[in-house]
Symmetry: none
Subunit: 265 residues, 2 copies
């Protein structure tokens, strides 16, 4: 679980992103997973300014975009960070550095953020080229999202590995908060009271009763045995309310059948 102070020491850096929509999508993913420090490195401010304009109307990204900072040099953007991690789709080029799966890197980031003197930056390159060698040289570690990489018979990759920028950011931040958020927020497990085993045993008996009354038992005796019916009844009613719905229906079947018989006397 990352605390608010630890989250505040984590920065997403978009380097050379060209499409304003992708900048907005990254900002939205940050907001979704509880991060707020976005830095954009671009020679020209145009994509960033367009993203800020769009964010005013865009869902969920406004807060992050408002506080985002723009830099013209990557060095300046990560100047106050203690751990700089680049993301890459491996296979694209010969890398000089070790590439680790994002799962493993997420652990390293967690450990680092636990120390209040640290500040971590996660870098994403441009949509077209990813991080250049020069940009990678600012990184002390490289992370990749393991993608499906089929090989041709001659051993060469059958497809170019690259991922949509907004999706990459979302997956990395998901991984970073994956273990923590689960506990942090209580999942609404179920609406209303769950069905009890007592409910289920009542259902078993009512179902047996209804099968007998409707003539089902006579026609399909093997399927109307108590153990078989009990197994069926285990599936009825996840909630107590659902179980009682079944009970009322089964009662109605028996009642209706009895009335039908009475009428025919």
């Amino acid at each position: 679980m990352l605390t608010a102070l630890q989250r505040a020491r984590f920065t997403v850096v978009l380097v050379g992103a060209r499409n304003p929509q992708n900048i907005g999508a990254a900002a939205r993913a940050m907001q979704d997973f509880g991060f707020s420090d976005l830095r954009v490195v671009n020679e020209y401010a145009a994509p960033f300014e367009a993203a800020q304009l769009e964010a005013k109307s865009a869902v969920g990204a406004a807060g992050v975009m408002r506080n985002a900072q723009i830099f013209t040099s990557l060095g300046q953007a990560v100047a106050n960070c203690t751990l700089v991690i680049g993301t890459t789709a491996i296979g694209a080029r010969e890398l000089q550095q070790t590439v680790m799966p994002i799962q493993q890197v997420a652990e390293q980031i967690h450990t680092t953020l636990h120390n209040p003197t640290h500040r971590v930056a996660l870098l994403f390159g441009s949509e077209k080229t990813g991080l250049t060698n020069e940009q990678l040289s600012h990184c002390s570690a490289l992370a990749t999202i393991p993608l499906f990489a089929p090989l041709r018979e001659d051993g060469t990759p059958a497809r170019h590995l690259s991922m949509n920028l907004g999706q990459s950011v979302a997956v990395c931040l998901y991984e970073l908060t994956r273990d923590g958020l689960e506990g942090a927020r209580e999942m609404p497990t179920q609406h209303g009271m769950p069905a009890t085993q007592e409910d289920r045993e009542r259902l078993t008996q009512m179902l047996l009763h209804a099968m007998q009354h409707t003539g089902y038992t006579r026609r399909f005796p093997a399927n109307a045995r108590e153990t078989v019916v009990r197994r069926l009844a285990q599936q009825l009613g996840t909630t107590h309310l659902e179980a009682t719905t079944w009970m009322a229906f089964l009662k109605q079947i028996v009642k209706e059948e009895a009335e039908g018989r009475e009428d025919s006397l």
Copy 2:
């Protein structure tokens, strides 16, 4: 690790997606993580056709988009699936079903795909509304991506929880193919053919029919609404054999009731 055959039995269903770019983004995420069966449910074919046109030039999504199928009804789209899981951003509405974090659901999907008679569908709703209650009633389980959910001082959520469609698909498929799931999985102990979604839809209709015939619908109209009954029917019949047992029982109820009425004439 999912094998190619297991991947082939996993389907992504986009229900009511309006933005062609989002359909393309979902297709691209599927290609990135090694899945190929995309089904799109839409009243109008326009967004799907636009996505197919765009995919010709789009990076990485072409293969998936070429094989994608379009349906006008969700029931048809998932008819041959045995496990249907809906995704939801909880908090949006009061849910009747249990919502599990995607981590947990991914394990269930893995276990299910290990059995070659199973076929799993993961549903994503429209960008605006998510899955409707009617659409959720087709699901036997609900999954959510745990998002950052700060609360105001009065305990109400400080932001609307929702996620970009393409990003949601990417995160779910990432979780599904994430390393580490390989270890602690067991073969399912289920015997016989599993019930399909087509079986469950037949059960829904037969149950509605039986409720009407026995007078249950008249007495408890709120519990006999189609979405409520479909949710009940999702619980019936884990195996195909159990599903047919239920069908025979429901048939017998209607038959018996009709005969009773005839006798009383």
